[in-house]
Amino acid sequence: MLADIIEVLIKGIVLVLILMGAAAYMTFAERVIMARMQLRLGPNRVGPLGLLQPIADGIKLLTKESFQPAGVDIFTYWLAPCISLFTALFAFVLIPIGGTVELWGRPIRLQIANVDSGIVFLLAFSSLAVYGVVLSGWASNNRYSLLGGLRGTAQLISYEIPMGLSLLTIALAAGTLNLEKIVDAQKASWFVWSNPVSFIIYVITAFAETNRAPFDLPEAEQELTAGYHTEYGGMKFAMFFIAEYVNILAVSAIATTLFLGGWHGPGNIPVVWFLLKIALFVFFFIWVRATLARFRYDQLMSFGWKVLTPIATLNLILTAYFILV
């Protein structure tokens, strides 16, 4: 029993450290890749090839003044970044990173919690992420932040539905809500081949879920001066920032788990396959950000409700029909 608790704790700490490091280096990767796409050089000053840039940024953010504007709702103001970061990190508790490995004579499953209703938990916590956005927007006592928070709420609510519907088709196809069993069900053929429409809908909604371009309306720099985190600085801002990048990793990991066969792939290198598939998604996120312009707000809403939701519903009905008949 005690050994189990220690195992879970160690796995959790390692996972959090890896995710923080990955989030830091994703900012670096994003800056370099976007720079190359825009014919620039990108950060290359700090350390060899600029590889120490995220560390320099981290030190800068840590040593900044911990500033709190006048008139904020103090408790909510400090709570909001924690909610964002917590919900972003939580998704990884459920995701199977690999199979079972043997370490020091002890079988260790590369997954922190094998929950039977994994998909439901994932959906629940990705919906909770909006609380970080809306509470920070409201607590900041700033109209821009409030608008950003409201946009975030409306956007996440409307994109949660097609996302849930597209994930339901996977639950139907696999016949289970358990993420590990879903991964095992894709040993022969990935679900992206049998449910391509769900995959496309999921990827589009994933952009909206993570507030990334072209759906980065809650944090629009140009219109809202960075939206919900305008009034945050230093490490509080960094927490939002890390949460955003961990969120990208989370939706990439979910897409990998549900559509791209998780850690399955040729050769006996499960974790490497998993990381490669995530890296592919992360690159796609950066690539899209470098290409597409932000949607207008009404376009965003009408796209979500008039295009994605009907298609996702139809897709779900068709999938259910083919599975039942």
Binding site: R36, M37, L39, R40, L41, N44, V288, A290, T291, L292
Partner: protein, 156 residues
């Protein structure tokens, strides 16, 4: 049909961006690599000399008058037969250009009747204090004729 076209346009845009990521960046690592500027690009000023070492500037103050940002200060003085600084009647006893005010428009170079003031290619004018960015006559005057890159034999 229109929707398909729009989706196709998005994919095309993605493809173009991906293609550009394999091109050579057009920016450079500045202090290590330096771009060779066009010969007529306008940088810091020089006060040129004639071939015989006399100053070209005759202290007419036309550059100070034409200067849109009033960056130039000229204090003219009369040449005496014993001490001829320039070929004219007057010369610039003091000549200062405030590089913080200068907008590098080149009007002074155009206005100068003797071709005394010219703009060189050096754009790397940095300092951590204001005082040192007011260039005095010593700093502006070329040490030997032709230092600025301008032919000392040229009339104007």
């Amino acid at each position: 049909m229109k929707t398909i076209k729009q989706v196709f346009a998005y994919l095309k845009g993605l493809w173009i961006v991906l293609k550009y990521s394999f091109k050579r960046p057009i920016t450079i690592r500045y202090p290590e690599e330096k771009r060779i500027l066009p010969q007529r690009s306008r940088g810091r000023h020089y006060l040129t000399k004639w071939e015989d070492g006399a100053e070209r500037c005759v202290g007419c103050e036309l550059c100070a008058i034409v200067c849109p940002s009033q960056a130039i200060y000229v204090k003219p003085a009369e040449n005496t037969p014993e001490e001829m600084h320039s070929h004219g009647e007057r010369y610039a006893a003091d000549f200062q250009i405030n590089m913080l005010r200068c907008i590098f428009c080149g009007y002074c170079e155009e206005a100068c009747p003797t071709g005394a003031i010219v703009l060189g290619n050096d754009f790397n004018l940095v300092s951590d204090n204001r005082q040192s960015l007011i260039y005095t006559k010593d700093m502006l005057t070329e040490k030997t004729p032709g230092d600025s890159g301008r032919d000392p034999k040229r009339e104007i």
